[in-house]
């Protein structure tokens, strides 16, 4: 009996040694994280998706690809981004030490460029000559237009007509960078419709076009690929914090829309059981109203945009409108790996509303001299809740995923100021 038990235990140890118990193994060969993910696209696109997967897999074992990418990340994007000890904010809350991973200092002002750079190099290797992308707030559109300008590739950005109207500076930036911005009037004319329209374009232009998806969602291999390109955030932050503090953080926290900045921060910490991981969803006017973007808190698993994941939907499976003051979080779904991390309990997901985010946004400006993106302000607002409950020997690591210059018009309107 005892001998049998011991054998079982040693078997488990072997499994662990082989890394099989790691939370970082996903997705499986069907592109699934548990039940989430997969490849739910029309047959016309299926051969393309497989082509992207094959090409991406080839880059994983090609050291030259990583060397090329690292070169652009260092010299064009400006990596590594700094790790900033937010001393005054720490004193303000009077609890845990707060560190910012400064993705806002990247070229184009957000984390989006990490994945755009990786994907444009992939597209070039695949011999694609035209790039399409969707954008909500316009940050991913600007980052895509930027790398397309850098490599001289024509670029079409789909953007909901509603978003085109409320994000005019980014629309102009994309145009300056040489991109064509196509406003989408179909459906609700927001990010999800822009994604539908980009997929329709791809179906019609399969030979020459690469679809550069902005978040860690969509059909396999996009959730895995975008995550891997964004893991530079967590990998750098881990090394930087070990150097500064000689230890891992107690909490790593990030805002979650589609979830690319959050998965990039979280993934390198998934197997560090001592690190509490917190994703902050946009609660808009409140998760018990019909105006929020909290897919995990209020959604159900379903299929949209090529993957199975938590979605805001009605009883008949029709997709509902999301709402957030932050256009970057204004999406009725979430990347499939987050759905899995939610169900397994490894990551906690909490909702933060528009008003709390606005308050945190202003606080960060005044206390740290950093105008954060409204997306990150959601995570800052949750830090305001937990930091005072933690000790001064504890550490919170925030992914400050973007700068907030793009948001000043929205914020001004909400606090009653005219520019």
């Amino acid at each position: 009996m005892n001998k049998h038990f011991a054998l079982q235990e040693s078997g488990q140890a072997q499994v662990q040694a082989a890394g099989q118990n790691s939370l970082r193994q996903g997705p499986d060969d069907r592109g699934r994280f548990g039940i989430f993910g997969g490849r739910f696209v029309a047959e016309t696109l299926m051969p393309l998706i497989l082509q992207v997967e094959q090409a991406y897999d080839a880059t994983k074992t090609d050291p030259a690809f990583q060397v090329e990418l690292d070169g652009y990340l260092k010299n064009y994007v400006g990596r590594p981004s700094s790790l900033w000890f937010a001393e005054r904010l720490t004193a303000h809350f009077g609890g845990a030490k707060i560190y910012f991973k400064r993705e806002d200092l990247n070229h184009t002002g957000a984390h989006k460029i990490n994945s755009c750079m990786g994907q444009i190099l992939l597209a070039r290797r695949m011999g694609k000559t035209r790039i399409i992308a969707e954008t909500g707030a316009g940050q991913h559109g600007v980052a895509t237009a930027t790398v397309c300008a850098l490599f001289g590739l024509p670029c079409t950005i789909y953007m909901g007509a509603t978003d085109v109207e409320r994000q005019k500076p980014n629309v102009f930036r994309m145009k300056l960078l040489g991109a064509e911005v196509r406003p989408v009037t179909a459906g609700s004319a927001t990010l999800k419709d822009a994604m539908n329209e980009a997929m329709r374009d791809w179906v019609a232009n399969v030979d020459d076009t690469y679809y550069l998806i902005g978040t860690a969602a969509g059909p396999h291999p996009y959730p895995e690929m975008v995550r891997n390109f964004q893991c530079v955030i967590g990998n750098e932050a881990k090394a930087q914090l070990l150097e500064a503090e000689g230890r891992l953080p107690d909490v790593a926290i990030a805002s979650v829309g589609g979830g690319s900045n959050a998965i990039g921060l979280f993934h390198p910490f998934l197997d560090d059981a001592s690190v509490r991981l917190i994703g902050v969803e946009a609660a808009g006017h409140g998760i018990d109203t019909d105006k929020h973007a909290a897919s995990l808190a209020r959604g159900k698993p379903g299929v949209l945009h090529g993957n199975m994941t938590y979605l805001l939907q009605d009883a008949d499976g029709q997709i509902q409108e999301a709402h957030s003051i932050s256009a970057g979080l204004d999406y009725p779904g979430i990347g499939p790996e987050h759905s899995w991390l939610h169900d397994t309990g490894r990551v906690e997901y909490v909702p933060i509303g528009d008003d709390e985010a606005l308050e945190a946004f202003q606080l960060c400006c005044r206390v740290e001299g950093i105008i954060p993106a409204l997306e990150c302000a959601h995570a800052l607002a949750h830090i305001a809740k937990i930091a005072p409950t933690m000790g001064p020997d504890q550490i919170i690591l925030l992914n400050l995923s973007g700068r907030g210059d793009k948001d000043i018009f929205t914020v001004a309107a909400h606090i009653g100021q005219t520019l």
Binding site: V41, A42, L45, P47, A186, V303, D316, I319
Partner: protein, 282 residues
């Protein structure tokens, strides 16, 4: 185990048409577009107008493979209260007076997931549905629906695209039943059309891999295109052109007018006349 009654409606219809020596016309309507009463009138009038099989679209908020015409049809349907349960009720009602014309439901996966794939297949078969087309369900993910459809004798009709190469074709065809739906263009519905030369090259390629009847859709708009499609394939699916007619017949508030159903059915008649004028090649 398998309920053969439902599946056999599609097989029986194609067998009968083969004996007649002609191809099939498969007109499409979107459920509840622009309202339940009008779409019911169109559905019930289609067999007499010359529909050999009927495809009913199940409205979805995010129809990624559809062009503007069918997108708007779905939005009108949803506004009029379309649900999967409502669409199945339409079919049940239709079966009270027509037990021969095969009915295929076409739509996207999420409403089926929300309904419950197993319960959906049970209820669809009980309502008198014969086949299902789930646009965003490639063979890689088919196990979400196919086992339940098989138990109920519902055909799973797979889309084959010009991008589906010879290496992939056998995989896609494995588990296909009823007929093959050839998406004749790389693109979304109602935008462009394949040439006769494209089809003449594509269809024999499919025949090398399957004995199933081949329907051609996406971009078949006119009677002459429908005739050409059935002279090369076995059936023509016409969707956007009919919905275009419906949409143009609506009043300024998007409501049906007394002419709406009649205009759509007149168009079905002219398409059917063209298809019936074609003698099967060989």
């Amino acid at each position: 185990m398998t309920r053969t009654g439902a599946a056999s409606r599609i097989a029986a219809r194609f067998a009968a048409l083969r004996r007649e020596g002609r191809g099939a016309l498969i007109p499409f309507l979107e459920a509840f577009d622009p309202d339940l009463e009008t779409s019911t009138a169109i559905l019930h009038g289609m067999p007499a107008a010359g529909a050999d099989l009927i495809e009913i679209g199940m409205p979805f908020t995010d129809p990624m493979a559809d062009g503007p015409i069918i997108q708007l049809a779905g939005q009108r349907g949803l506004k009029a209260g379309a649900t999967l349960a409502g669409t199945l009720a339409m079919v049940r009602h239709f079966r009270e007076t027509d037990d021969a014309t095969p009915v295929i439901l076409m739509g996207y996966l999420n409403p089926i997931v929300a309904y419950g794939p197993e319960r959906f297949c049970t209820d669809a078969a009980a309502a008198g549905v014969d086949g299902l087309i789930a646009v965003d369900l490639p063979p890689e993910e088919a196990d979400m629906l196919a086992p339940f459809a098989a138990v109920q004798g519902l055909d799973i009709i797979r889309l084959i695209a010009p991008t589906t190469d010879d290496a992939r074709l056998p995989y896609v065809l494995e588990g296909s039943s009823g007929f093959i739906y050839y998406v004749s263009i790389t693109g979304i519905t109602g935008t462009r059309s394949a040439s006769g030369a494209d089809l003449a090259a594509a269809i024999p390629r499919l025949r090398r891999f399957s004995d199933l009847p081949i329907a051609i859709g996406f971009g078949v708009r006119t009677p002459s295109q429908a005739a050409e499609a059935t002279s090369i394939g076995d059936a023509a699916v016409v969707a956007s052109a009919l919905i275009d007619t419906l949409a143009k017949s609506l009043d300024e508030h998007g409501r049906a007018t007394p002419e709406t159903a009649g205009l759509v059915l007149d168009q079905v008649r002219s398409l059917a006349a063209a298809v019936r004028g074609v003698r099967a090649a060989a």
